[in-house]
Symmetry: C2
């Protein structure tokens, strides 16, 4: 028998399975619930204790982790399941981690419902994660945790187990703060995931082979974590189901844009991205990997494109793809950080966590450092963005010539054009600074 | 034999055929050129003189009208055709009307080339038109004409023949001014044409029958000329070829966005619209009527939707569609008029012509009057747009819930959100006032 505490776990999807089995490997007895029987079998084979009953999975568990896909699922599992659900079964003084990406308002509603149901003995933590399936299985996720101090203190060891040493971020502001931080991080993810497909699609229609594109992007300032991660699957057409479903980023994007509407923030590129995710859903791709959205641009594998260009021509075309991505990533950095400012989050903390998580990009790294002082009133934002504007213009010009949709490229371009004379950074930020 | 002057005509497409046959009916001998033989047959049947040679069509013609689809076609017909083209064949002192929608820079390049070729004896007028095929055939088009005074004086009778009494607009600024005026008018067209499909698509996915939608829109402030005109074909699925091809508005949108990039103007909604037109082109719909873009939302006829809603529910859903359209039309008015200001066009003239041409809408009529004083420095733009923001938010909320793409609705919403506290008109205009 394990000397480490027993843990209950709900939601053994791509991320949850990795997290739960990592805890098993660390020596915990983990009772895992999922609605999908084959997953439970797999979990058993990995040393976990499968459970097809929510209340069973929670009974006598002083520690419980919820990692389902949506707020709706969380609500059902916590409070509404036929067998009474997780909360009813948890012992007094249990610690409950909600690791799903949900609207901050939902995390706050859980806190309220616990109180209303007389279960404020439960130490509840709002702690969404980022980092992808590998880091989930490795216990090296980035975690954004918010909650009452007592809960955070009590749950810290478990958050530590799941995260890398420097990647546990305690976000001030109580329940909802972690989810808000995840939300502004997902601004980067929502835009940069679609940018992978837009760039590969544009490149394919320029006659560039996807492998050449990947190599070039990864060694340029167009690098992003998402591009490096997704492009592996794009090149292999590993979409069925792949590792991260269209439905997941579509859901996260919906959290961003619906909160943005509530608080009157113009989440321009995320709003554009969301419409394209809906178009992908219309094709029936919701359960497929998001790297397969490139099929909106070309039905053929991008790694099969036979380039007939001269070396010089190919170089010029690759430059267009780089210009497209860097322009989009620049604006996505502005959109994410201004949104964080808008909802009152600590900007330096966002920077530190995102630069090294799934939202990271070279442009975020470079321009995040310049954006934050402007928003905090200690910088003038005089940096000229003309070269990025010029490169993005050239890309959009060529896309127009070949009639290739560049949804994000067009959106980023109009924001840069709206920034005013000399295209200074402060002008771009003004497009988002609406208070 | 006709007592009225003989006229040469190049380009007997949907608009050109109407214009040319109208001139025939008015008693002119019109020699019409087209590359499409069946059209020439039809033109002959309508009393015209068909010609399969450009130089024949221009020989001895003191009056010549070019109404081809693109600048490329115009350039080829005017200067580059195998038989020498139109210009070479025109007699000394002929008057040449270029009625195609082309970039102003192209109209200016024709003026330059005429000079370089020693043909500045030709009275050249840059005179794009608007109004649709019925008004073309009726000689009641809106015409935006620019050029040297002598040319305008000489050609006025012919421009009068083609336009309604109050709809000939002489735009100051010489060659290019007419095309610029057409361009900013087409900002309205580019956005409002796509809005027709977006609204019908959204409505269909809400379970509304297209006939109910049309009736409601036409009697509300969501009215637009484009909606009234296109919706007839949408309801009948009259797309093959219909009356106005996707390729035409896609080309016009391309003129808008490429000039916008050149002069650093953020044509936000047109840029969004262009990407969706490219997506329609990807489906092979370039030659189909633009009212068929609704098929991006639903493959089924929108007039076949069986509503299962209660009357109250239906009313609420129709309100969402109205909110979507009015929000889009409001921002399209701002985009068109600020672009006109940006390129130095007379705003009152744009208002007068567009309000009564294909770009017209109730929102343009109402808000155009309020926008112009702000841009001319005689109004404060204090009008609150909150009710439009609220209605558009509700529409986009619901679209998100049912995962329906609303490209323009999302774009219009983020611009309104970016307008700042209280959503005042001046805030919206600032999003476009970049100088």
């Amino acid at each position: 028998m394990s000397s480490k505490p027993d843990i209950g776990f709900c939601g053994l999807g791509a991320m949850g399975f990795g997290m739960a089995t990592h805890l098993v490997k660390s020596g915990h007895s983990v009772t895992g619930f999922d609605v999908w029987a084959p997953t439970l079998e797999k979990f058993k084979a990995a040393g976990g204790i499968p459970s097809s009953s929510l209340s069973e999975s929670a009974k006598n568990k002083d520690w419980y982790i919820v990692m389902v896909a949506t707020a709706q699922q969380a609500q059902s599992a916590l409070f509404e399941a036929e067998d009474g659900g997780i909360v009813k079964a948890l012992p007094k003084g249990a610690t409950l981690l909600l690791c799903s990406t949900v609207p901050s308002s939902y995390a706050q509603s859980v806190e309220k419902e616990l109180k209303e149901k007389g279960r404020d003995d439960i130490f509840f933590i709002d702690s969404p994660v980022s980092g992808g399936t590998f880091r989930a299985a490795d216990g090296t996720l980035s975690i954004m945790a918010g909650g009452p101090e007592a809960a955070l203190e009590k749950g810290k060891w478990l958050l530590d187990e799941l995260s890398a040493p420097t990647k546990l971020f305690i976000v001030e502001g109580g329940i909802g703060a972690g989810s808000n931080m995840k939300m502004v991080h997902q601004v980067l993810a929502a835009i940069q995931i679609l940018a992978v497909s837009e760039a590969f699609g544009f490149a394919a229609r320029l006659g560039l082979n996807g492998k050449d594109v990947r190599e070039k992007v990864l060694s340029s300032e167009a690098w992003s974590w998402m591009f490096e991660n997704r492009s592996v699957r794009t090149l292999e057409e590993d979409y069925f189901p792949g590792a991260s479903a269209v439905g997941i980023i579509m859901k996260d994007t919906g959290i961003i844009t619906s909160i943005a509407r509530l608080v009157n923030f113009p989440a321009s590129l995320c709003t554009i991205a969301e419409q394209v995710y809906f178009a992908a859903a219309d094709r029936g791709w919701t359960p497929n990997d998001d790297s397969g959205i490139v099929r909106l641009w070309t039905p053929d594998p991008v790694s099969n494109v036979q380039s007939t260009s001269s070396d010089e021509d190919k170089k010029a075309k690759l430059k267009l793809v780089i210009g497209l991505l860097t322009g989009i990533h620049l604006v996505s950095a502005a959109e994410s950080i201004t949104f964080a400012k808008h909802v009152g989050l600590p900007l330096e903390q966002l920077y530190t966590l995102a630069v090294d998580a799934a939202g990271g990009s070279t442009m975020f790294k470079t321009y995040g450092e310049k954006i934050i002082p402007v928003l905090e009133g200690t910088g003038d934002g005089d940096e000229r963005l003309e070269s990025h504007l010029k490169n993005l213009k050239e890309a959009v010009d060529e896309a127009q010539r070949i009639k290739c949709p560049v949804y994000l490229g067009g959106g980023a371009l109009t924001l840069l054009l709206a920034s005013g004379e000399n295209t200074r950074l402060v002008g771009l930020l003004k497009m988002y600074s609406v208070k």
